[in-house]
C-alpha cells in the first residue's frame, strides 16, 4: 500500500486566493475556512491557523471580503467573512491566473 502523501506547506501567495475561493459559496468564520481548505485538499495542505488572520485582515482592508458578527457553533460571537462584489470578481481573475500558472509550471517541470 502506498504511503499517504506527506502534507505540504501552502505555496506562498496562494492562501489569499484559496480563502476567496472557499468563500465563494457563502460565509464562513476563520476556523471553518482553515478546515475547509484542509478538507478540500484531502488534508494535503496544512494551514498555519495563525497566519490565516493576517491574510483575512489584508483581504478585508483591500475590501475583497467583509466581516459580520454572528454566533459560532461554540456559542461565541465570531466574525463571519463573505465576499464583496469586488471579491467575486477577484476570484474569477485569480482562477484564470492560477490556471495559466499551473499550465506554465507543469510545462517547465515536465520530465525531459
Amino acid at each position: 500500500m502506498a504511503a499517504p502523501p506527506k502534507p505540504v506547506d501552502i505555496l506562498q501567495g496562494t492562501l489569499n486566493m484559496m480563502i476567496l475561493q472557499i468563500l465563494l459559496p457563502g460565509k464562513a468564520n476563520g476556523y471553518e475556512i482553515a478546515k475547509l481548505i484542509e478538507q478540500r485538499s484531502d488534508e494535503l495542505l496544512q494551514v498555519d491557523h495563525g497566519s490565516l488572520y493576517p491574510a483575512l485582515r489584508r483581504l478585508e482592508s483591500k475590501q475583497l471580503i467583509k466581516a459580520e458578527y454572528e454566533v459560532s457553533p461554540t456559542n461565541r460571537r465570531a466574525r463571519y467573512y463573505s465576499l464583496t462584489p469586488a471579491g467575486r470578481k477577484q476570484v474569477a481573475l485569480e482562477h484564470s491566473r492560477w490556471q495559466t500558472l499551473v499550465h506554465a509550471i507543469t510545462r517547465v517541470m515536465r520530465p525531459a
Partner: protein, 875 residues
C-alpha cells in the same frame, strides 16, 4: 496610557474574540474525536500558535490608518521612554535648555532688530553725516546750508536736518504747578516728519513758514510729554506753553511709539536759528527718504560726489578727505546693540546645536543598546521604514516635549531679561513671546527632532543583522559605526563649546579690563546733573556769575566737600566738543584738516578735584584767571608725554584752537591725568579751559560730599532756585552710574554668553561621559579579562579614555580656529585683549580638556576598579 488606547483598537477589531472562538472550535474538534480536555487544549493552542504573535503579524501585514500608525509609534516611544527614563529625561532637559535659550534670544533680536520701526518703508530712510579718516574724526557734522545741497540730489524724495546729539538742546518747561522740568528737545527742519513718513497724531506738521527766522515759535509734543504734563488734554492744540520762559504754541502731538531721536520729548523748528546761514556752523546730521529704485550704493555714490563738489566749491569749509557716511535708519537706531544681540543669538544657536548633538548622542546610545532588539524585529519582518519611523517618532516626541518646556522657559527668561537688561538697548522692554517666537521655537524643535532621529536611523541602515544576531550583540556589527558617529558628535560638540567659551572668556577679560581701567575719574560717588541755563537775557558774563554763586553756595553748605561745573560731563554721548589745536612751536606748519583734535572741556576751578582727575603738574584754574588775564589751559598727560618726547616741556607752551591768525594763544599751566570722556574704552587728548575765560557755558554741575546722593541733588536744586527759580536740573547720575551705563551693554552680552558657555561646558562633559560609559558597557567582559590577566590599571584607564579624548582634542582645535575667526569679527567688542590672545585660547583649551578628561575618567576609573570576577560570571 497610549497602550491602553491602543488596546482598545485591538478589541474593536475583534481579533481576540475571533482567536478565542477559533481556539474553542479547534478544541471542540478534538473533544469530538475523543481526546481528553487537556489534550484538546494543547492541540488547539499548538495549532493556532501564539496569539501575541498573530497580533503582531496582523499589525505588520495590514496597512494601517495614519492615526493608528502615529499612535502606535508614539506609544512605543513612550514605552521606550519609560524603560530608558533617565536618559530620555536628560535628553529632553538638554533640548529644553537649548530651545529655551535660543527662543529667548530670538525674541530679543526680534523686538530690537527685526520688528519694523513705526515709520513706513523704514529702509528708505537714511541717516547722513561725514567722516574724515585722514583727520581721524568718525563724525564730521553738517551745517544748515547743506540741506539745500542734499535736497538737490535726485535720489532723495525729502531731506531734513537734526542735531547729531540729543544733549545740549534741552528746554525748561514751566508746568504751571510745582518745579520746572527740563525736557529734551530736538530742533528739526520742517520736512523731518515727512522723511519719517508720519504725521502728528493730533494737529499739524511743521511747515516752511514755521522755520523762518522770527516766525512765531511752535512746538510738537511727544505723546508722553502730552500725557505727563498736560493730562492728555485734547484742547492742547493752539495753546501756549512756557519753554525757557517764552510762550510757544503747541501745533501737534505725535503718536505714542514715535521716539526719534531716542529719548526726545519735544520737537522744535530748526531754521529759526540765525546760524542757518553759516556753512561753518556744523552740528547737524541729515535724514533723507530715498526715492524708489535707488540702491544703497547709488545713494552712497550721489552723496559722496556731492561732498566732493562741496570740497571743491567751498575749500574753506570742507576738505576732500571728508567721506559720506550713509546709514539706513534701522541700523542707526540699534547702533552697537545690533552686534551684541547678534552675537548672543549666535551663541544661543550654538548652544542649541550643542544641545541637539548631545541629545542625539543619547538617542544614539539608546539605539546602540537596542541593536539586538532592532535586529530581532527586522528579522521577524519589520520593514526598515517602520523602525526608522519609530526612531523618528521617538525623536519627535522628545523634541515636542522639549519645545513645550523650552517655550515656557523662554517666556520666563524673557521677562527676567527685560527687567534686568540695560535700559539703553532700544525697544528691548517690548520683547515678548510672539507668534514669530513660537514659530522659531517650532523650527528649533524640528531641528532637534531631525538631529535626534538622524543618528539612530543612520546607524540602522548600517546594521549588519546577521552578524549581530550570530555574535550575540556584545561587541558586534554596527557598534563600530555607531561609536565612530558618537565620537564625531563629541568632536563637533567640543568645537562648539570651545567657540562659545573662548568668545565668553574674551568678553569677560574685556569687561574686567573695563572695570579696572583707570578712566580718570577716581571719585565715582560724585553726583553729576544737567543744569544748562535756559531763557532769554543770559550773557556769557551772567552765566558765569550764576555758576560762581551756585558753587560758592554749594561749597559752604554742610556735608559738601567739593563742587564744580563742566561743559559736558563724561560718557554723555559719542559726540562731544572736539576742537583742533596747534602749538606755537609748530604754528602754520599744518593745514587745518591735518591738525589733531581734542576733547574740549570748559570747567570751573575745583572741577578736576571733584571728579577725581589728579593734577600731575602745574596748577589748577583760579577765579583770578579772568577774561582779561592771560588765557590758560590744562592738558592731559598723554599730550604732555607726546610733547616731552619731541623735546618740549609742556608747562609754559602755548596752543591755539584752530590756525587762524586771530585765534588766541592759551598757555599751558597744568597737566592732568588722562580721563575718558566719550567711552570707557576710548582714549583721547583732553584740553581744559577756565569757564571765566571763554564764552562757552558750563552745563553740568558736579558735586561731592558726605551726604547721600538725593540730599546733594536737593541741595543743588534749592541753591539753584534761590539764584534763579526758572531753572531746572535733569539727568541726575553719579559718575559711577555713568561709567556703569557705558559698559552695561557689554556686561549684558557677557553675562548671556557666560550662561551659554556654562551650559555648553556641562553638555560637553555629559557628551564625553556618555560616550565612555556606553563604550564601557559593551566592553565589560573584555576589561574584566584584561584586569584578570594582570593589565595595569593606569594603562587600562589610558586605553579607555584615550581614544575619546583624542576626539576632544581635535574638536578643541577646530573650535579654537573658529573662535579666532569669530573673535576677529567681533574685535570691536574686545578691549585690551585680541582674538588671538594665546593665554585665553590656551586656558580655554586646557580647561575644557580637563573637564572632558574628568568626565571620561570617572566611569573609566569605576570600571578599572571593578572586580573582574563579577563581570566574567555575569554571562
Amino acid at each position: 496610557m497610549l497602550s491602553r488606547l491602543f488596546h482598545l483598537f485591538r478589541n474593536n477589531r475583534g481579533l481576540d474574540a475571533e482567536l478565542a472562538d477559533h481556539l474553542a472550535q479547534l478544541k471542540q474538534e478534538r473533544l469530538d474525536a475523543g481526546d481528553t480536555p487537556d489534550q484538546a487544549e494543547l492541540y488547539a493552542r499548538r495549532r493556532l500558535g501564539n496569539p501575541a504573535r498573530i497580533h503582531e503579524d496582523v499589525y505588520e501585514s495590514t496597512p494601517l490608518q495614519p492615526l493608528e500608525t502615529a499612535l502606535r509609534h508614539a506609544s512605543f516611544a513612550l514605552r521606550t521612554f519609560r524603560r530608558n527614563g533617565s536618559a530620555y529625561l536628560f535628553a529632553i532637559a538638554i533640548l529644553t535648555l537649548g530651545i529655551g535659550m535660543s527662543v529667548t534670544m530670538f525674541s530679543l533680536v526680534q523686538a530690537v532688530l527685526l520688528k519694523p520701526l513705526p515709520f513706513p518703508d523704514q529702509d528708505a530712510i537714511q541717516v547722513i553725516w561725514k567722516q574724515d579718516q585722514v583727520a581721524g574724526v568718525a563724525l564730521v557734522e553738517l551745517a544748515y546750508p547743506e540741506l539745500g545741497d542734499l535736497q538737490a540730489l535726485k535720489a532723495f524724495d525729502s531731506v531734513a536736518l537734526m542735531p547729531t546729539t540729543l544733549y545740549g538742546y534741552g528746554r525748561v518747561l514751566d508746568t504751571g504747578h510745582g518745579d520746572p522740568v527740563q525736557l529734551e528737545s530736538t530742533p528739526v527742519s520742517h520736512d523731518f516728519f515727512r522723511v519719517l513718513g508720519i504725521k502728528p497724531a493730533l494737529g499739524r506738521d511743521f511747515t516752511d513758514a514755521d522755520e523762518q527766522v522770527n516766525a512765531a515759535p511752535v512746538v510738537i509734543l511727544s505723546d508722553h510729554v502730552w500725557r505727563t504734563y498736560f493730562s492728555a488734554d485734547p484742547a492742547i492744540l493752539g495753546r501756549q506753553i512756557r519753554l525757557n520762559g517764552a510762550g510757544v504754541t503747541v501745533i501737534g502731538v505725535t503718536a505714542p511709539a514715535i521716539d526719534f531721536p531716542r529719548g526726545v520729548d519735544i520737537w522744535l523748528p530748526l531754521g529759526v536759528n540765525p546760524m542757518k546761514e553759516r556753512r561753518g556752523a556744523t552740528y547737524l546730521q541729515a535724514i533723507a527718504r530715498s526715492r524708489p529704485g535707488y540702491s544703497a550704493s547709488a545713494i552712497q555714490a550721489q552723496v559722496a560726489s556731492l561732498f566732493q563738489r562741496q570740497a571743491r566749491d567751498y575749500p574753506q569749509f570742507y576738505s576732500k578727505s571728508q567721506k559720506a557716511v550713509v546709514t539706513p535708519l534701522p541700523q542707526y537706531w540699534t547702533g552697537s546693540a545690533r552686534i551684541h544681540l547678534w552675537i548672543s543669538l549666535g551663541a544661543s544657536l550654538l548652544l542649541l546645536l550643542a544641545a541637539c548633538i548631545c541629545a542625539s548622542n543619547l538617542f544614539l546610545s539608546r539605539a546602540l543598546a537596542r541593536r539586538r532588539e532592532i535586529a530581532t524585529r527586522t528579522s521577524l519582518g519589520a520593514a526598515p521604514r517602520h523602525i526608522l519611523a519609530q526612531f523618528a517618532v521617538e525623536g519627535l516626541t522628545a523634541a515636542i516635549l522639549a519645545a513645550v518646556s523650552g517655550t515656557l522657559l523662554a517666556a520666563a527668561l524673557i521677562r527676567l531679561l527685560v527687567l534686568w537688561a540695560p535700559a539703553d538697548i532700544p525697544r528691548l522692554t517690548e520683547a515678548t513671546l510672539d507668534p514669530r517666537g513660537l514659530a522659531f521655537a517650532l523650527a528649533t524643535a524640528a531641528l532637534a527632532a531631525l538631529v535626534c532621529s538622524f543618528a539612530p536611523a543612520w546607524l540602522i541602515t548600517r546594521l549588519d543583522l546577521d552578524a549581530l544576531l550570530r555574535e550575540g550583540g556584545q561587541r558586534t556589527a554596527g557598534s563600530r559605526t555607531g561609536k565612530r558617529l558618537q565620537r564625531v558628535f563629541v568632536m563637533a560638540q567640543t568645537a562648539a563649546t570651545v567657540l562659545l567659551l573662548s568668545l565668553c572668556v574674551l568678553l569677560v577679560v574685556s569687561y574686567r579690563a573695563m572695570l579696572h581701567t583707570d578712566v580718570g575719574f577716581a571719585n565715582r560717588d560724585t553726583v553729576t546733573m544737567n543744569l544748562a541755563l535756559r531763557g532769554d537775557g543770559f550773557t556769557p558774563q551772567s552765566r558765569d556769575d550764576f555758576y560762581t554763586r551756585l558753587l560758592e553756595k554749594l561749597r559752604t553748605a554742610p556735608g559738601v566737600t567739593h563742587a564744580g561745573a563742566v561743559l559736558l560731563r563724561p560718557f554723555e554721548g559719542n559726540v562731544g566738543w572736539d576742537l583742533r589745536y596747534e602749538f606755537d612751536f609748530e604754528a602754520g606748519r599744518h593745514r587745518n584738516e591735518e591738525l589733531p583734535s581734542a576733547n574740549y572741556e570748559v570747567v570751573t576751578p575745583g572741577y578736576l578735584a571733584t571728579v577725581g582727575t589728579p593734577l600731575l603738574e602745574g596748577r589748577d584754574f583760579r577765579l583770578t584767571d579772568f577774561e582779561k588775564a592771560e588765557p590758560v589751559v590744562i592738558i592731559s598727560n598723554n599730550l604732555a608725554r607726546q610733547l616731552r618726547k619731541s623735546g618740549h616741556d609742556p608747562l609754559g607752551l602755548r596752543l591755539r584752537f584752530g590756525r587762524r591768525p586771530d585765534d588766541v594763544w592759551w598757555k599751558v599751566i597744568g597737566v592732568a591725568a588722562e580721563a575718558r570722556y566719550r567711552r570707557v574704552t576710548e582714549t583721547g587728548v583732553d584740553l581744559y579751559v577756565n569757564y571765566l575765560q571763554t564764552g562757552i557755558p558750563t552745563n553740568y554741575v558736579v558735586v561731592r560730599g558726605t551726604r547721600p546722593t538725593h540730599e546733594l541733588v536737593a541741595l543743588v536744586r534749592q541753591a539753584t532756585a534761590e539764584i534763579d527759580p526758572r531753572q531746572a536740573i535733569a539727568g541726575t547720575a553719579t559718575l559711577g552710574e555713568l561709567i556703569e551705563k557705558d559698559t552695561a551693554r557689554h556686561r549684558f552680552n557677557m553675562i548671556l554668553l557666560l550662561w551659554f558657555a556654562a551650559c555648553a561646558v556641562i553638555l560637553a562633559a555629559a557628551g564625553v561621559y556618555s560616550v565612555i560609559t556606553e563604550s564601557l558597557a559593551v566592553r565589560t567582559r573584555e576589561i574584566a579579562l584584561k584586569v584578570a590577566l594582570g593589565a595595569g590599571r593606569r594603562r587600562l584607564l589610558l586605553e579607555i579614555t584615550g581614544s575619546a579624548l583624542i576626539f576632544v582634542v581635535v574638536g578643541e582645535l577646530a573650535g579654537l580656529v573658529a573662535a579666532y575667526g569669530a573673535g576677529r569679527a567681533a574685535e570691536d567688542l574686545l578691549y585690551t585683549v585680541t582674538a588671538a590672545d594665546p593665554l585665553v585660547l590656551a586656558s580655554v583649551f586646557a580647561f575644557l580638556f580637563l573637564v572632558s578628561a574628568a568626565a571620561a575618567l570617572k566611569p573609566a576609573w569605576t570600571a578599572a576598579q571593578s572586580d573582574p570576577r563579577s563581570a566574567l560570571q555575569s554571562d
